[in-house]
């Protein structure tokens, strides 16, 4: 038994080192900082100056009374739920469509959907900056003006009359466009692994196309759906790069374009540079993420899908 334990440790070691160095240590450090008044990186005098739960108490009061922070929380919820839905269901729909059509057309189609993911962030951000630009030169404005649908240019993501929905629509749209290809690729390759005979058998058994999708394709890729859902959920809770660009270039409203992850980043590195407070918010974010991740696995009955090991090491 001891030998097996040592063997297991040996195989796990490389990953353990990485996890400890790049996840556990930063996490401990963040938790530490969240109990200090660290601002403007005054590490020397503030890193050991504990203030107890002050940062957490501040966070509580902010959540309770600050209207801007309310907007951030609302935005986070709407953004994560809607984008997750688009990424998983949209990815599934795209994968099914590309699976059912001719392979040559389907390849080009899938590459098209991969473009947003392959485009550098700055270029992609710039594209949407021009597209939603508030002046008459903006792509959307210029198009609608020429079509005669609007009389004067609209400030799509920032006009208070259309907030919060316009800003939310833009951030969900832009992130969905990037994220949807992930599910598409995973689901498509899963579909490709289904033996051809299975689909033929279902057809002979009398299944119409949508019945093949419902009874055969989707149930067989259930594991992949769980995987993509959890993966995308966690990455949506924690990622902020696209949102950062959109907010920074004023494509969308500052608060209705900011999720909790971006709020943590901005608080620590950009606006007020209050690292202690940002760390407290980050700790809360990690806790929320862990709970949601575990909850999703539970809901999708992950434990039932785990198969026994394929052999002894």
């Amino acid at each position: 038994m001891a030998r097996r334990g040592r063997q297991a440790l040996f195989f796990l070691l490389p990953m353990l080192i990485l996890v400890v160095a790049f996840y556990i240590l930063p996490l401990v450090l963040t938790a530490w900082i969240s109990f200090t008044p660290l601002t403007n990186w005054r590490v020397r005098d503030q890193l050991v100056d504990f203030v107890g739960l002050e940062n957490y108490v501040n966070l509580y009061y902010l959540a309770r009374y600050d209207p801007d922070f309310h907007k951030v929380l609302q935005t986070t919820l709407v953004f994560v739920v809607l984008t997750l839905f688009i990424n998983v269901v949209g990815g599934l729909v795209l994968a099914i469509l590309t699976y059912l059509i001719d392979e040559r057309i389907s390849l080009g189609y899938r590459l098209l959907w991969l473009l947003p993911r392959m485009t550098p962030l700055a270029v992609f951000g710039l594209l949407w900056y021009y597209f939603f630009y508030g002046g008459p030169q903006g792509t959307l404005n210029s198009f609608f003006l020429k079509m005669g649908i609007i009389d004067e240019p609209m400030r799509w993501g920032t006009d208070p009359a259309m907030l919060p929905y316009s800003a939310w629509a833009i951030i969900v749209f832009v992130n969905g466009l990037v994220g949807v290809s992930y599910g598409m690729i995973i689901f498509y390759s899963a579909f490709k692994n289904i033996p051809r005979e299975l689909i033929i058998a279902a057809r002979v058994d009398g299944a119409k196309t949508w019945e093949v999708i419902r009874h055969i394709l989707v149930p067989i890729v259930r594991w992949h759906i769980v995987f993509v859902t959890v993966w995308q959920l966690l990455s949506l809770i924690t990622s902020y790069t696209h949102l950062f660009v959109l907010v920074q270039w004023s494509v969308v409203d500052k608060w209705y374009g900011t999720t909790l992850a971006l709020y943590v980043f901005n608080t620590a590195f950009f606006d007020v540079k209050n690292q202690g407070f940002a760390a407290a918010a980050a700790v809360i974010l990690v806790i929320i993420g862990s709970i949601l991740g575990l909850l999703t696995l539970r809901i999708m009955r992950f434990s039932q899908m785990i198969s026994p090991p394929r052999g002894d090491i």
């Binding site: 299975l198 057809r203 009398g206 009874h215 055969i216």
Partner: protein, 374 residues
Amino acid sequence: MVEVRLEGVTKRFGRVTAVNSVNLVFGDGEFTALLGPSGSGKSTILYLVAGIYKPSEGRIYFGDRDVTDLMPNERNIGLVFQNYALYPHMTVYDNIAFPLKLRRTPPEVIRDKVLEVAKFLHISELLDRYPAQLSGGQQQRVALARALVKEPEVLLLDEPLSNLDALLRIKIRSELKRIQKELGVTAIYVTHDQSEALAMADKVVVINRGVIQQEAPPDTIYNEPRNVFVASFIGSPPSNIFPATMDYTEEPCINLPGGTRHCVEEEYAGVLWRMKPSKVIVGFRPEHAEIVENPVDGRPVIVGEVYTVEPLGRENIVTVASEDIHLKVITPPEVRPEAGELVYVAVERGKLMLFDPQTEINLKYIAREWSQGG
């Protein structure tokens, strides 16, 4: 049940013609085997009958009904695949019930039918399991149950036994035939295994390169192959086939390898006189010859040297080299000549087959066509 008819059916995939103007009738309640090497087009014919492929030309009928343009689900067929194609995420019960659920059959009826077919195929105790928990033979029965629960008019079997081990294959073989006869369903069975085809089928259709070579009961396929392909494909080991020159001085005689001569039997003489080919293709089955020491009794005899002897317990396969031709002969276990020994291979009277060197068709069939055509 129903008769299945293919009229001038051709199927092309791009530039490849997989099935070439095939006319075939699968008799009502008959068990027909489609036999051919891989790539011969036998599975394509099955998929054409199933409606998975649409013919490039020709029509397909179930009885009087033209089904050429019907989808598979509109044809009332059951299909069993080589790899069973069971739905991995469904239990055995759900697998069998699936076609009925799609037909919106009431749940009580589904239950009764599934239990009935499961009992019939002895899989009642497996209904709660998933396909991955079953052995190959069990999966095979479940696949058959799923095909039969629909009460199909036509049962299509695509090499259903190939993935089973040899012992199980022979067991299920006889069982499958019993089931088919009991239900009286029209069955089409695709296989590349000649012993399966000969053992199970009422009629065997031999196919090569998308063209039907012969369509006949198993006995006829075995005893009177229509052409060289059928003769060389059927049998284990298959027929010995070699070219020989002819001599017409008094009567048609064949110059056999090793320098002997054999003057042909009555049934071949007429056709040979009329055609007067300078060469023929000669064939005989390894089990229709024996190794003798003295060639005296007027049987066709070939002189040669023993090349190898393969003892198989029940019998030996002796390969004899004569000129540059290798002939196989099945001998009783006690006949075990030494390699290098000079021997005579005597072919049973009337078992020598002669084929036209151009068309490779059995001269017996040419003679028959002439006598029929007048």
